[in-house]
């Protein structure tokens, strides 16, 4: 189905009877060149770029539920490229550039809105650390701006600047950061991939791998065996479970991360504000709801829901940062599963099984990475070599001692 101004007018006059589905709902073929497990943003973006940039369209995306029903539908939709380490920052900046051109590329309204992100500063030491990070961001072309307390007061006057424990002394801003519409991203990639010939197969859960002589031959699913030349696993949150079918252990623990949304309000928060010291960050959706979150629950979980202690912690952080939030009513709280890795950074790599490839370990950061993870995973699947911005995301970085630990807390997943 094609969108155009003419079509919008025509359908408006015709009772919207002519809008059809955005993608087909095909039965699985006996085999494909490439099978991607996981119909989230990453899996669909991978299929889209495989077809669009690498000319490979004999591809299937297998999704156990409906597309975008996992972490793609459970995150807080923030996009940014404000990392420090040389192995990370160029990758996220590639992602930001792809976000900036996403709607032109897929011809689908993903509601990318570059309204800026501000990381708050509470001490001289933190200002030094953020100035350094800002320099790293500028080197990568991402741009950064160090805000004084007075500038910040003008931009976000509703914050509690004189909190006794964490007085606000300034902020680091990335003006190109912002938010996107999570469903719009999933649907845009799904429609784009489908139009290029990719089969999107929903309600098809992978239950095992066919591996012979160390090479993958296909996958066992709830809809039968599907042969595959190559298999890409892109199921962050359930990575341990799916890679367990191939008998592989990962440097990952699965954890529950919660998010929250208030009732719809008039425009009040200009961009994204993060209050790391208080375990709280917030933005406002286009519908007006305040979207916010905090830390993971902190213990291994596959439950897609969290506990009350973290809800209390996040809401206390919100009250400390912006007391006006106490007047808003909480509408919903939900949880998703995140792959917390041993250094807090992702993995996009081959495995020791021929033809089996892995994309996961996204920690808190999978949504913003969606376009670049799709592109670099597609590059790896198509060419068998890592994309130039993803060379640091290898499995063997742990054995070799080249971990990518942005926070420097060591091999303790619940602290990243």
């Amino acid at each position: 189905m094609i969108f155009s101004g003419f079509k919008v007018v025509k359908e408006a006059l015709n009772g919207y009877k002519g809008w059809g589905p955005l993608w087909r709902n095909p039965a699985p073929k006996p085999s494909y060149d490439i099978v991607i497990i996981g119909g989230g943003g990453h899996g669909l973006a991978t299929a889209y770029y495989l077809a669009k940039r690498y000319g490979l369209s004999n591809v299937a995306v297998l999704e156990k539920g409906w597309i975008g029903s996992g972490n793609a539908g459970r995150n807080t939709t923030i996009i940014r490229s404000n990392y420090l380490l040389p192995g990370n920052q160029p990758f996220y900046e590639l992602s930001m550039k792809l976000w900036e051109n996403l709607e032109q590329d897929t011809n689908f309204n993903s509601m990318v809105s570059q309204r800026g992100i501000i990381n708050l500063i509470h001490s001289d030491g933190q200002r030094d650390a953020y100035r350094r990070r800002g320099n790293a961001m500028m080197i990568s072309g991402a741009g950064a701006r160090l805000l004084s307390r007075d500038e910040l007061r003008q931009m976000v006057p509703f914050l509690n600047f004189d909190n006794a424990r964490f007085p606000i002394k300034g902020g680091l801003m990335q003006e190109r950061a912002g938010t996107a519409r999570h469903d719009g991203v999933v649907w845009g990639y799904a429609r784009g991939a489908d139009r290029l010939g990719v089969d999107i197969i929903q309600n098809c859960e992978v239950t095992g791998f066919r591996i012979e002589n160390g090479a993958v031959q296909g996958v066992e699913t709830t809809r039968g065996i599907i042969g595959a030349g190559k298999v890409g696993v892109s199921v962050a949150g359930s990575s341990g479970k799916v890679m367990g079918y191939a008998g592989r252990r990962l440097p990952i623990e699965s954890h529950a991360l919660q998010a929250f949304v208030s009732e719809g309000l008039k425009p009040t928060i200009p961009g994204v504000i993060t209050f790391g010291a208080g375990h709280f960050y917030v933005s406002q959706s286009d519908k007006g709801g305040l979207v916010f979150g905090g830390d993971i629950d902190g213990y291994n979980s596959y439950a897609q829901r969290g506990g009350l202690p973290v809800i209390e912690d996040v809401l206390e952080g919100g009250m400390a940062l912006m007391p006006m939030i106490g007047r808003a009513r909480l509408l919903r709280a939900w949880g998703g599963l995140v792959d917390m890795s041993m250094d807090g950074s992702p993995i996009i790599d081959r495995t020791d099984v021929d033809g089996l490839y892995f994309n996961g370990a996204w920690n808190y950061g999978g949504f913003k990475a969606t376009p670049a993870a799709g592109l670099t995973f597609a590059h790896l699947l198509a060419t068998d070599t890592p994309h130039e911005t993803a060379t640091a995301f290898r499995f063997d970085r742990f054995n070799r001692g080249y971990v990518l630990d942005e926070k420097g807390v060591g091999a303790q997943p619940n602290l990243h």
């Binding site: 359930s238 341990g240 479970k241 367990g244 252990r249 990962l250 440097p251 990952i252 623990e253 699965s254 902190g298 213990y299 291994n300 979980s301 596959y302 439950a303 506990g307 202690p309 041993m342 742990f398 054995n399 091999a411 303790q412 997943p413 619940n414």
Partner: protein, 93 residues
Amino acid sequence: MLIPHPLLGLRDAQEFTYLGDASLLNRPDPVAPGAEAAFCDYVFLRDNPAGVHRELWFHEQGDRSWLVVTRNTVTHEILSAELASDVKAGAAQ
């Protein structure tokens, strides 16, 4: 979530800090052949099961004992809790 402490009874999980998989009790022998690879597995790789998981919790705001808690990671149901010192002593026999 309440953890059934073997000495103190039901305690709120907020009194505890979480370390991870109880296999961390089985530290490899640093002088054995292949110790480097064994330590790499020990430090970085996890089973990460969806289901029953044995894990280490530290009663930081209580009696400062280490517990091995058996918990279902899908339902968050806690099946048992033992003192880690007892588990370690049992394994050594």
